[in-house]
């Protein structure tokens, strides 16, 4: 490879934040709401039993306010999942993988392809029902630097994986 070392002005580098992000599979929206509902159901049951047995829920007023609070929490959770879907997105560029998420707290993650250690495709039973899987990208940084792209159609996940693997192999040859 010919060695080039031209000076680059940072302002003219391709921007990693303002790129076209791909949306996750539409079924991911329903999936995340269902999954959150299941989690919430478990949580509410635990709270219900806990409060019932400790005798905190005596009287109709307390019962109703308990249900009311749970309902509000649930609506909030659903809202987050519903709008969160539109805020999530991934992009695969020639040299890196980008992922963004967050309604109020925004997060953009950038993983250079040449720093990827290994890749996994994972599919929980629930994800299987919705016909989606997730791509997990591992690097040598702390666990904070690992990237999970959820809500991918299996063939998309497979294609992305192939793309990432190709780059690693290509990398090594130069």
């Amino acid at each position: 490879m010919e060695f080039t070392n031209e000076e680059l002005v940072p302002a003219y580098l391709p921007d990693a934040i303002e790129v076209e992000y791909n949306k996750l599979a539409p079924s991911y929206k329903t999936y995340s709401m269902v999954s959150a509902s299941l989690g919430f159901a478990l949580f509410s049951l635990a709270a219900l039993f806990g409060l019932l047995f400790s005798g905190q829920l005596s009287g109709i007023f307390r019962m109703l306010s308990f249900i009311g609070v749970l309902f509000l929490l649930y609506m909030f959770r659903m809202f987050v999942k519903y709008y969160g879907y539109g805020k999530k997105g991934y992009a695969i560029r020639r040299h890196d993988v980008l992922y963004k998420s967050g309604i109020w707290w925004k997060r953009h993650v950038f993983i250079p392809k040449n720093r990827i250690q290994h890749v996994e495709i994972k599919k929980t039973p629930l994800e299987d029902v919705f016909g989606i899987s997730r791509l997990m990208i591992f690097t040598a940084g702390g666990s904070g630097s690992d990237l999970v792209i959820p809500g991918l159609l299996p063939e998309v996940a497979e294609r992305l994986k192939e793309n990432l693997m190709e780059k690693i192999a290509h990398d090594q040859e130069e």
Binding site: L8, A16, S145, M165
Partner: protein, 504 residues
């Protein structure tokens, strides 16, 4: 018997059938391990003739484990394709792992007891990121296991050979010559002891005393530490505050200083840092002699810090943070105390070659950091103290609220002013601190990934944080302008992606 060269690794294959036993052993053993106290109690409480319940229970558990072991066996497939090891597994949650040969650092064939009985081997794979994740083929016959190992090491040997062939120029093999870079004399050690973190050392003494007293307390309860505290509290209740008590302060200071000097003497005695062709070698210690080694290629973060006390003497604490690795027992972080600035600079120039020394651009944290942190860390706690004062009418809380406001404001101003963000051609440097000024320098090409985050407040004001992931931990840049964040992120990504240098 299968001949070695007839093994085809390119098609997904199950492990040998007998490995069901290994999987079964693992899961059943796991159940036994997590429930053994229960089982033990159950067993002990059994009346005679009631044992059938236990037997049925164990048999049932064993059957269930075996059943799931079988399912797990049938769902486990491995193969090699395009120099990738691909393992798919999972009963309910399906996982397909894709591990490129290039990223594999070591492969180990292991035999536990059960493996030895069945003459099987487990193949364990380590990558640079695999401390978080286990990559394993639990049970294979020797021929297949060693063929996998052979194929991977063969590939990686060839790759390193190619690499060496392309980069032979200028890389002559130097003999094992060592150059003394830095050493500590007895006076330096005394200085270090004098300026150590006495507060911390005081607590170390307390801890040691506590340890001794618990030991003694088992012999005679009058030595117990909680007795001492009770005694102290009882007495303090009886007596009113008198200025004479302040005499205890010099006493504590003297003891702490003596202990600090002692600690410094024991740990830093004869500290020598030598530069070798492959890395730094650090020897130190009076009684327990310790040798540490920091290979150049493993160095991820170079940190130098100076506390106000040490500032008087101009002595820096240097720590070198390394990528952890499973193959060698390299310590993750190596500390060199008491280096003068000149030595720190020569260190820096050696670790980061001289050409990289010049800064390309400096950035600043935004002054809105002041407003936000003032709210979170100064106003809100002070407000809480004020409320407490209001309800208790106790002057202590008023004093606390006042002091918090005063000291908090000073600390915050100092923190804000201390921030330095420098980006060089090949390095990035961050400096910050309230009392102790810390500076971190990293090679840009050793970054593993980065993140740009925004809180709702930052979103409204076009601000952002950057989090930098290295193999030795994360660094954060808070509250910079969004446009700066873009610029930095883009530049760093460009640098990492265009770099051909190994990060480890």
């Amino acid at each position: 018997m299968i001949r070695k060269n007839s093994i085809d690794l390119s098609v997904p294959a199950h492990q040998p059938l007998i490995s069901i036993l290994v999987i079964f052993w693992k899961s059943f053993g796991g159940i036994i391990k997590s429930f053994w106290p229960l089982l033990f109690i159950f067993f002990m409480n059994q009346k005679k003739g009631n044992n059938w319940l236990l037997i049925i229970g164990s048999v049932g558990l064993a059957l269930i484990s075996f059943f799931f072991g079988m399912l797990r066996y049938y769902n486990f497939l491995y193969h090699i394709s395009n120099n990738n090891l691909i393992i798919s597994s999972g009963l309910f949650t399906k996982v397909t792992k894709n591990i490129p040969f290039e990223r594999i650092q070591s492969i180990r064939l292991e035999q536990k007891f059960i493996h030895r009985l069945l003459n099987l081997y487990s193949v364990r794979i380590d990558t640079a990121g695999s401390s978080k994740e286990e990559i394993e083929i639990p049970a294979l016959d020797h021929a297949t296991a060693s063929k996998i190992k052979e194929q991977i090491s063969e590939h990686n040997r060839a790759a390193t050979k190619r690499k060496q062939a392309t980069s032979t120029s200028g890389h002559s093999v130097t003999p094992e010559e060592e150059e003394l870079v830095f050493k500590l004399d007895l006076t330096d050690i005394l200085k270090l002891g004098l300026t150590a973190n006495h507060v911390r050392n005081f607590f170390i003494i307390l801890g040691v005393l506590f340890g001794i007293s618990t030991q003694l307390g088992e012999i005679d309860s009058k030595y117990r530490f909680d007795r001492w505290i009770e005694y102290a509290i009882d007495n303090s209740k009886k007596m009113t505050f008198e200025w004479e008590y302040l005499l205890i302060i010099p006493f504590v200071v003297i003891i702490s200083t003596l202990v600090s000097i002692g600690i410094s003497l024991f740990t830093n005695f004869n500290l020598r840092v030598r530069k070798t062709p492959t890395g730094y070698r650090i020897n130190q210690g009076l009684i327990n002699r310790r040798e540490q080694f920091a290979p150049y290629k493993k160095i991820q973060i170079f940190r130098w810090a100076i506390s106000p006390l040490r500032h008087l003497l101009g002595l820096y604490n240097v720590s070198i943070k390394q990528a952890s690795s499973s193959e060698t027992s390299v310590k993750k972080s190596i500390r060199i105390p008491g280096a003068p600035l000149a030595d720190v600079n020569s260190f820096l120039n050696k670790v980061f070659s001289k050409a990289s020394g010049e800064a390309v651009k400096n950035y600043h944290v935004h002054h809105k950091l002041l407003y936000r942190y003032f709210l979170y860390f100064v106003t809100i706690p002070a407000f809480v103290f004020a409320v407490l004062f209001y309800f208790t009418q106790s002057g202590q809380f008023f004093l606390l609220a006042f002091l918090w406001l005063l000291i908090g404001t000073l600390c915050l101003a100092r923190y804000y002013n201390s921030w330095q963000i420098t980006i060089g051609k090949s390095y990035l440097q961050l400096g910050r601190g309230i009392l102790t000024m810390r500076r971190d320098r990293i090679f840009i090409h050793k970054l593993q990934g980065l993140k740009v985050t925004q809180t709702p407040y930052q979103l409204r004001h076009d601000l952002a944080n950057i989090i930098l992931h290295t193999a030795a931990g994360d660094l954060a840049i808070p509250y910079i302008q969004l446009s700066d964040a873009h610029e930095i992120a883009n530049y760093l990504l460009y640098k990492v992606e265009s770099s051909r240098k190994a990060w480890m």
